[in-house]
Symmetry: none
Subunit: 89 residues, 4 copies
DNA sequence: CTGCCATTTTACCGGC
DNA sequence: GCCGGTAAAATGGCAG
């Protein structure tokens, strides 16, 4: 690899390298937080289990609620589309 | 289902119902945050892409770094296992 | 369901039915073989245990070796990606 | 680690080391075959999909058939138990 | 819209 | 025999 002679070691790879490093760090930081939240959720499921709830059922309940929420959002979206189509904005 | 006559509608299902509701809400709250983080990550990938980086490569790099970190953790763990197995606790 | 009058019982459901049956049988056959292999593996772990090896450690070792192999494969893959990204195909 | 002075490097770890190596290799070999079968199965699902079958439904069908087979096996087992209990072996 | 990858759910296995 | 944790299957989401 041919480096520009004015380049120091720290700059090897150039600006793009720094940019890349920054992007990677930001992503890794967020993924860490995400994993942390996933662990928190796991803990709550464990808590639920030790409180006598059936975890599998609990998961299903939450999944259903999520689906319903999504359906509602989609219906809102369609409604909005209709209203726009009818000039009712 | 026979409800205790002193029970109001809000209490239907009893204490367990309240506990369940609380668990569900906590989980849903955390999942929302998790999803939000996922979106943030997606945004960074988009940013990377528009800065000219190859997203596929970027993902691989991050995946590889994650694997390496995990492998290091596993090696620590197996070392501990060895020591226990050898009575070196 | 209205069957074509020239259809025999064996053909009920039509060509697609036969195709489906064939697919299912092939899958089930392979899954049987797979399960058989899983049993063989289990037997070896049992053998290892009765030979005095710590099964947990053994599993970790194998898991670690698998990870290492995979990481090597990934590094090859990312190298290919780099070369493509740099137009060095 | 103190090695017996008559031990060469190749023998370090002793007989147990050889035994361990053999066990690991046998397991890894079988796991490779297992993975290969898993890939074959995946291929069939892909084939099914491109033939217009709904893969998700297909999986359910196979899963149900597996459950039924298992149930039948369990019933046979119970029947055998009864027969033994009644001296009808 | 299809294939691929991450996440999630399910099933298994050893330990208590 | 359950439970906790680990590996496999399956589902869902995303980029191309």
């Amino acid at each position: 690899m041919a480096l520009d002679s004015t380049e120091t070691k720290a700059e090897a790879g150039g600006i793009a390298g720094e940019r890349l490093r920054s992007l990677i760090e930001r992503i890794e930081r967020l993924e860490e937080e995400k994993k942390s939240l996933a662990n928190d959720i796991k803990d709550i499921y464990a808590e639920a289990k030790s409180a006598g709830f059936d975890v599998k059922v609990l998961r299903k309940v939450i999944s259903l609620r999520r689906m319903e929420a999504q359906e509602r959002a989609e219906m809102d979206e369609i409604l909005t589309l209709y209203m726009h189509a009818l000039g009712m904005t």
